[in-house]
Symmetry: D3
Subunit: 326 residues, 6 copies
């Protein structure tokens, strides 16, 4: 029963723990008085915690699986400002009995509902080539499966299974809400750009029990990957239809993708050159910043302080009390 589990991000010092964890980085060491002890890292989908087992034996150590699951009994304590778990007893736990969702960070929203809503918004695209291009992506099963699973980023924002979809949908909703205010914008271009701007993340990141860059992700990057995929789908359409995909439309769509980070320093090889590109850039940035500000405030471990710790990506600490005025 999921509700009985104590998630790692809810643990406080002095608690008794009795449940299954994913285990990593196990190590057998000698204390100064010559006794053996074990160190390892315990993981669930909400985070990780260092653990130690004193008075250990080699056979206990050997029994711990590499990158597998163990049932742990023990208690938490604070050590040098961090929580750690002191293990009293442990035993290996079969992976097939584990509820995997306890060990993978996933969106809290309904993936299929989000996907449907995104498609619904995209239905507003009137331009035929763009509609056909969207269709090519939507009919690519592997692509769609990847889209539903990919995180939006490695660490910065929405770093969990389904994060890409959550982030893309939010921007699509924001675009839908703001387009009436800026009627000069080409809404078809904007919406298609929103849909595809981060799709390269599917090839850049892998998400399992941890999010990692693929080699291609590190060497090429999601921006270029997306530009290439759009090219490939357009080539496919051209081949099928026997006439070239409209070149200007293709240029503009790829331009939206290439420029959506807004400045060179963040890996965009092109600055935005059309209003639609600025529009996409700001909505993308806004949604990322909403995560990057509300998430640290909500999850700040120090209940006393009125400010969070320093947020390197923002260059500042965050004030936690704006939600409620005096």
């Amino acid at each position: 029963m999921k509700s009985q589990r104590q998630y790692i991000n809810e643990l406080r010092p002095g608690q008794t723990v009795n449940q299954v964890f994913l285990v990593r980085e196990k190590d057998l060491r000698t204390t100064k008085s010559g006794d053996l002890y074990i160190t390892c890292t315990l993981i669930d989908r909400t985070g990780k915690i260092s653990a130690r087992m004193w008075q250990a034996t080699e056979s206990i150590f050997t029994a711990i699986p590499t990158d597998g699951f163990i049932h742990v009994k023990g208690r938490t304590e604070e050590y040098r400002g961090n929580l750690q778990l002191v293990i009293d007893a442990l035993r290996p736990y079969p992976a097939d009995k584990v509820d995997l969702s306890d060990f993978t960070a996933v969106t809290e929203l309904d993936v299929e509902a989000m996907w449907s809503e995104l498609l619904e918004i995209l239905r507003a695209v009137k331009n035929k080539p763009l509609r056909m291009l969207i269709k090519k992506f939507v009919e690519d099963r592997a692509m769609v499966a990847g889209f539903k699973k990919a995180p939006a980023a490695m660490e910065m924002h929405n770093p969990f299974v389904g994060g890409l979809l959550e982030h893309t949908l939010k921007i699509a909703q924001a675009a839908q809400a703001l387009l009436p205010l800026y009627p000069k914008l080409n809404a078809d271009l904007v919406l298609t750009g929103v849909f595809l701007h981060d799709i390269g993340k599917i090839g850049e990141l892998t998400a399992g029990t941890a999010i990692n860059y693929t080699d291609r992700g590190q060497l090429i990057g999601h921006i270029t990957i997306a530009a290439i995929w759009v090219q490939e789908k357009a080539n496919l359409l051209s081949a099928e239809l026997g006439e070239p995909f409209p070149p200007k439309t293709l240029d503009l769509l790829q331009h939206l993708i290439l420029s959506h980070h807004g400045v060179y320093e963040y890996g965009s090889p092109k600055l935005p050159m059309i209003p639609e590109a600025y529009f996409l850039h700001y909505l993308d940035n806004l949604d990322a910043k909403m995560y990057m500000t509300t998430h640290p405030i909500t999850n700040d471990p120090d209940a006393e302080s009125t400010f969070t710790s320093y947020q390197r990506q923002l260059g500042t600490r965050l004030y936690k009390g704006s939600g409620e005025l005096d």
Copy 2:
């Protein structure tokens, strides 16, 4: 009749001109062959144009008012890539017969309607101290008159009478549209911040037949002016109510104003530290950029080129054809 006027931004080489202009920078000079000629600048609300009158006399020159109006007959021609107007005849024109709206750049929208709509949106603010503070501003007649007249910027965006209101309303509408997507935000704080974030522009810029910085605007800047005005209104409320304006609410509102340029380099003495400040910063930036991109595209003088000239503020040229796909 306004519709018969040829506005300066509509003139093309080879046209006959016969109408009233604001005149500035008049100068009497000698040609190489010893004849006198007059140079001056003619202005209306859409721009300015250099003019010359050959075969002039001192009495014609003297008749031209300093910073007044003249009726001009002449024709346009291109000179070194710029349009200039060759005057055949001119006579002074009484200022009181002039339709002043022809000579002042003003918003094309209905100022009173915009003001009402802004107030309507602000009605959503529930927090009592913020409501009272808004009321203090709305009841300050000089402030409201200034708000309706001020431009949003000297050159960058909405540089015309009513520009501040136009810009503020647009952000308010955008905030209204997006707040439902980000329910964790304090909507009262956001809306009050939107209303007041650029109000210091009233003290920073003067708008008449041209927009200029005030000395205080240059030395202090609209950001600090706005923070001071908010302080003064809050002090006033405190005095009236006999209890201090809630200090945290005041801090947060002033923080929104101080941080809304987002980075130090653009004159914000504080980086955004609350989600609401990022939200305001991005909507503000988005609206400015929409003007800064669509305006040069719409007004680009070169009909042939697919790109505008270099836009220094954006660091790039703009592509003019995104409105229509192929």
Copy 3:
């Protein structure tokens, strides 16, 4: 007797310690062999030191006050390159018997003498509105009390009670010394600017047993706080005198405050635009740098090295031997 105390910044490894400390962050932990031990931080006005007490009991731990004082017997030793104190015995110590000056970093100079000297220098101001404004500040008892107590900065320079006064006086003296060399400067403006440039620090920082930012300090900053206070005092004068405080004088004084960090990157919303602002900026910077260089050199813990450790704020290490030539 103060002279008998061993201050924390004077402790060296291997010393016996027998005196009172402020204690913080106490923690009861278990060693690997199951024994209890206590960790805590001991503080006096010269710094802090980690301490451990082995073979502890719960009753000893309970007896240690939270944020109070204990009498400690023990010895110092080096641990991982840092000094730590091993406690042999401890007992709580009544706060009212403590010499509080041992536990608060304060200027080593005479506060009242500095204040008098500052007022003496300000007497040179001839301009009447500026004299009256200075008077308004000097007659504000809370303001003066704050001025005498505030530190000049959180960490960078003069981070102790009285630091603001020490720093301000030094700049005032420097201004007095250099003004004759630059007779074109408006000395009245310079001196008033020196007096008030950092006065917002009173509202930005609190100084007790540790220096901290106030919430308002973090959200608004001392630069804007000072500009607001100057406005409020000027408004007060205007009300009392029945005529507005001279607006240009007010603009220039606020400009001095707003621009005294010299560049946007350091939080000045305005660049210096008058010679007096550059003058203030350089004297301010010079005095801060004199502290930031001589302090690490004087307090460098490593007697062997000819260079200090890397000084992040300066981007370099400092050479310690310039005081004495070969």
Copy 4:
């Protein structure tokens, strides 16, 4: 006979001119005394010069073709520090009688010889997939034709027909010369990368009587265009061979292209992550800088000065005398 032509970059004040030019930007104007005159720009492959014809008539003006050729008689003179040509007589000149090579800047080297030498160097590539990929490009006739015609840059270096080939060959020769010094490098990857790193210039720039960006060049850029072309050729090979092109090889080759500008600021969406990428980046940069320094020195118009004018791209003036020591 080519040798009899006076090229524009060889004209000096006071010369008689009697030959054909490409003409652009023609304009009919009125002098202050009411006479008509014509202004236009005359062009050959070495540069352009402003020209004026006094005492003109409308029929002369009409006879001048738009973007065509005219035979001109006149003389040069200096005007405001620039040379200009005063036209005494002119007549339209049929385009089909013109030696087009007089009007297009082209490499001074033998294009076919350079192409052969480049292919010869590429023959050293041993890795089979890379050999096949190179072959795909070499067999693409349009690509090869473009490669031989494209300039290396719009203005910065080798801005002439054949410039891309000249630049690419030089880097290939440099790589060939230096690879023995760095035996750890993967020479196959380096050479293939050298060949393809700038191939996107073919799609980015058009070169005729002037070099211009294509719309796709401005919106997408040669770096992404090249990455896409490599992808398309690899896809083609995969389809032909029935097995995927080796993915790691593809990743690395695209990485070389994407990172060859070395830093984000110059439009590389990825920093170099393999030694081969740094190697390519420095050889590319070196060859560009050799052009950017020797060209202004050789072509400096001021024979007196020991320094060239300020070179914006280099941030400095260049000293002209390093070729010969004292």
Copy 5:
């Protein structure tokens, strides 16, 4: 009689002129109606002005010396916002009859008095090696002659004969005034550093009728030149005394010179690493900024505006009214 001369920076439109000027850049041109006219630049020590002579002849043109003097009769007028001088008559003027001080910008202060005062201040140096080093420089006649003649900079500050001395003396006075406030500083090192910090300007700049960089100045720079000169004088002393100049003293003195620009971006190859280097850097910077702010304010040609034109080096316009309050 000097007082009767109208200096160029005092000329206003509409004045009659009848005096000698230095002439440069003479040019003979044809008007549109075929007449000859002459353009040239007239120069005195306060600036330069464009001049034209209509109805000229080749013999008049030939009579004008290249880089010599002419007596001019004419009148001033405004042309495109700049003043120009229309010459009615001119004749060559013998250089030996000219008062050269009218044509060379020089300090307005007494050079010998400044030099004496500087030496007087340097007398405070107690350290023997530094005293001997100073003596070596003071006894070097060519060096001293150069010191008295050199400008302090090409354009930025004190760009006139004697400017180096004026600038150095001012910093020496400032150091003398401030050293008592910072008793931890090594005053000997500071004063010697002040004396020598810019001495390389003697080799970097030549000052005659115009200030120019020497080739060595451009290629090596005054900072390295000064470091080398100090080395050479120290080597000389070592040779004379038969023992090495104290190496640490030499290191520190050269360090002061190398780091006095404060940051790498301004050409310092080393950041300041001793308090004395920061002290020198700020006093140097302060004195330069005092010139760079008061000079444009004093010399602003537009009497109406309250701000100067944009000062590129400062990144801002300057407010002209701080000298007098309201």
Copy 6:
């Protein structure tokens, strides 16, 4: 026998160790249970490792030399991700029995052979003054001895005895290989510049069992040191020959040295102003980067990962697999 030694960079967890190490930073501490233990750092030419000896005595501790050698028996284990050595027994070891080459990082190449090859390449210099200058350096025995011993850098590249020579020779070879491709370059200047560009490293760094900056190195830097040395040798030649060393040649050679870091930010007080300076800058940079990329890839401790750890100097991680394609 060298081959039997286990070098520190080859140790893996769980190995038995029985050999001599250089020892530093010894420390005697008390465990939580009151026992004494020793910590120290063990060093050989391939790196260093932390070591601990439990159950120690004061006499063992006293026996360990300060900065001398000990014979150690023990075993390795992993502790917090780092290897450490647990000492079972130790005894002091006489320095004169030690093979010093085991404890000093030195080039793996033949120093004398490299030196000969460098001189051979320099023989190509034809310009007589440059030949004589090179000879002056080559005949300076202390200089040559230093050149053969100096490292190329403290940490970044070639940080070992002989590194300067290895680096200089490689650039000389590269220059030799590329000069034929750029015939406009002054090869004599290039080769002399290559030889001397980093010679100041001899005075900047000391290399023994560890590489350190000299005080002069930190305060003055190798760039200025080299410029001074070139000056001194040129002065010497001038004195010997009775005529000045050709000043332009000297300027250019010093310019090459001063500008070889390419940008101010890296400590060059001058930007490159001649093609030869850019050529030297890029070859220098290329060789440094080849070390900085291949070295971390070759020595990456994590056999599993496809990327190295983050390389701060390069701003990225490196991909380890480019040597072998798929």
